[in-house]
């Protein structure tokens, strides 16, 4: 009887060890999404509630596996030259206004605001690192998205987490844990859907060159695409500074 019990425990342990946990999946997804450094030019095409299309273009610099980001708007004329810097995985945020030349330090709650009228919030555009603290991820097993086998990860806000979404469902490719789709829920209802398209291998890093965020409640849509990107970049130690933000 004792032997049977030990065998049972060992079997359960082995089976458990084979199933990757939600936390492990989230770690792997964040790792693959955030290479050491990058420099990119991105274009956001926003389909507004009025049905017209607006375009936002900006230059993005990241380092420290997403710990530091600097973004500078190139278009449209309304925001050209304005810039934003985030450090500590967007816990510290600075905004620069080119016309007034003022740099303001913002509290992290500003991440919940929409990125220049697009369907992405600043939080959506972050590294996902804060998800580790703010959400409890659960591996819900495997399913297919567009014929690609994926892990389905459900994330619910942890206790006292002050986050924008009541639930997120993330699908990660089983082959490399790269996310292909994220569903965002608010008050239990589906709010937005992020679809990662055209996933290419660029300089050894899988990269979705097209990301589509659909707001299913407002019927708006934002497509974010890379005009150019490189991961082969090194920054001066003072690059992510207020001085650089102003230039």
């Amino acid at each position: 009887m004792k032997k049977i019990f030990i065998i049972l425990i060992i079997s359960v342990s082995i089976l458990s060890a084979q199933k990757i946990t939600g936390n492990q999946l989230l770690d792997k997804a964040i790792d693959i999404m955030n290479p050491e450094a990058s420099r990119a030019t991105l274009i956001q095409t926003i389909r507004t509630t009025s049905g017209e299309t607006r375009t936002l273009k900006y230059r993005s610099f990241t380092a420290g596996e997403g710990e530091m980001t600097l973004m500078r708007y190139l278009e449209p004329a309304r925001v050209r030259g304005n810039a934003m810097m985030m450090k500590n995985f967007a816990d510290d945020i600075w905004m620069y206004n080119r016309r007034t030349r003022r740099v303001r330090k913002l509290a992290s709650h500003a991440k919940r605001q929409n990125f220049e009228g697009s369907d992405f919030t600043y939080e959506d555009m972050g590294t996902g690192e804060s998800w580790k603290e703010d959400y409890i991820p659960k591996n819900k097993g495997k399913s297919k998205v567009n014929d690609v086998e994926c892990y389905q990860l459900e994330c619910f806000p942890s206790e006292n987490a002050n986050v924008a979404y009541s639930k997120m469902v993330v699908w990660l490719r089983t082959s490399d844990y790269y996310p292909v789709q994220v569903d965002y829920y608010k008050d239990g209802e589906l709010l937005k859907k992020l679809i990662m398209e055209n996933i290419e291998n660029i300089e050894g890093h899988p990269t979705a060159t097209n990301m589509v965020m659909k707001n299913v409640q407002q019927n708006t849509r934002t497509v974010m695409e890379y005009e150019e990107i490189t991961y082969d970049v090194e920054y001066d130690q003072n690059f992510f500074s207020e001085r650089r933000l102003r230039r």
Partner: protein, 405 residues
């Protein structure tokens, strides 16, 4: 000579480098309702910017503004004040003389708003010319700012450039030293501002010292314009300009999830026995999960007068930007919400805590097209219409259209 050299350098540089031209056109229709009068003014403004970088370390930028006014362009300042303030009084309230009018005209204008040269070196940045000089962390009030004035009903509107030399020395990524000098005719009149700014924890913190001239309009200044007034109490000796020194502190960051900020200015005016005059703000803001944004800011100003002692001279000091508020204690509250991806609505209120008058200020911003923005502002005033700061005017409505190119 320096100006000519600068223009010559600008022409040579722009001839050999790619120049970016951009700017905006803005038109605004203003309606002001007073108890016995209604005023309409409209302006058209064209701002043309240029920006050129002949190399990574040199940048020249600037802009010109043309502004054309229509409608009511001749204003009498007295129309905006209740009857009590039409009489110049001593600080104890004794009347001296009734002031018939203070007229000012809105004139068409074309001017260089900013034009500056930026030089970047490994160890410093030097900016020379007419430039924007924002200081302090306050939203509606900046006690440490000696260069700019703010419209409390539209505090984020851009300021005029200031002719200055600015040297910024970064010390790593966390610290910055800044020195600014705004020249004047005499060295004694130079405005000077020095700051050390640090990023510590979740805060940006700055310590500053500034020195400028302080020469507020006095009762005697006004009496000098009205020679037929009784002279028994006024010597007509005008106060000379005096030195004003400010030791400043400001901090902006996050505490327990809230955005918080403070800005404190300890002023020393040397004719006043070295006594310190304090100005300070404390403020907080927060964005809720549904994108609702709330913000508040409290302002105290020792240079303001207690409400019951407010006189015409204090209004003149305020409207001449010699003091940053009429009375001493104010609070601002604001809520803002993006009702769609194209429309933001906000409601703010400014209360004068001394005379208990207030304004309610609704605002709608509609981004009609990618580079076209329509803004509708309202200001509704509540208070005692005989004495209070926000009691006499009834309402103001502004419709502003801005198209960027």
């Amino acid at each position: 000579m320096l100006k000519k050299l600068f223009i010559f350098f600008l022409l040579i540089t722009t001839a050999f480098s790619k120049v970016y031209w951009f700017g905006y056109y803005e038109t605004e229709l203003d309606y002001i309702s007073l108890p016995d009068k209604q005023l309409y003014t409209n302006y058209h403004k064209l701002r043309l910017d240029m920006d050129v970088s002949p190399s990574n370390n040199i940048r020249i930028a600037g802009n010109v503004i043309y502004k054309h006014f229509e409608g009511e362009t001749e204003y009498d300042f007295m129309n905006f004040l209740p009857e009590y303030y039409h009489t110049l009084r001593y600080s104890d309230g004794e009347p001296i003389v009734k002031i018939p009018s203070f007229e000012y005209n809105l004139q068409d204008t074309l001017f260089i708003d900013n034009i500056f040269l930026e030089l970047h070196h490994q160890y410093f940045d030097l900016i020379i010319g007419k430039q924007q000089l924002p200081t302090g962390s306050g939203y509606a009030w900046n006690p440490t700012d000696i260069f700019n004035t703010k419209d409390i009903f539209d505090p984020t509107y851009e300021n005029r450039g200031v002719n200055a030399f600015q040297l910024k020395i970064p010390l790593g990524v966390r610290y910055n030293l800044t020195g600014i000098i705004e020249p004047a005719e005499n060295v004694d009149e130079f405005k000077q501002y020095y700051e050390i700014k640090a990023w510590l924890g979740n805060f940006d913190i700055a310590l500053s010292y500034s020195r400028s001239q302080y020469d507020p309009t006095s009762v005697n200044d006004l009496l000098a314009q009205y020679t037929d007034v009784p002279m028994n109490r006024a010597s007509l000796v005008l106060n000379p300009a005096v030195t004003r020194e400010i030791a400043g502190f400001d901090a902006e960051g996050e505490l327990l999830g809230l955005g918080v900020r403070t800005e404190i200015a300890a002023n020393r005016i040397d004719f006043n026995n070295d006594a310190l005059h304090y100005e300070y703000i404390v403020g907080a803001d927060y964005t809720f999960r549904n994108s609702l944004y709330i913000m508040t800011e409290y302002y105290h100003n020792d240079f303001g007068v207690p409400a019951q002692k407010t006189e015409l001279i204090n209004y003149l000091n305020y409207f001449n930007y010699e003091i940053k508020s009429l009375n001493q204690n104010y609070i601002l509250g604001m809520v803002r919400y993006p009702i769609t991806d194209l429309i933001d609505v906000s409601l703010s209120s400014i209360a004068n805590l001394d005379d208990e008058s207030m304004t309610i200020n609704p605002k709608i911003v509609y981004r009609i097209y990618q580079d076209v923005e329509l803004t509708l502002f309202g200001n509704y005033f509540y208070g005692n219409d005989q004495r209070d700061e926000f009691g006499y005017q009834e309402a103001m409505v502004r419709l502003r259209l801005r198209a960027y190119f």
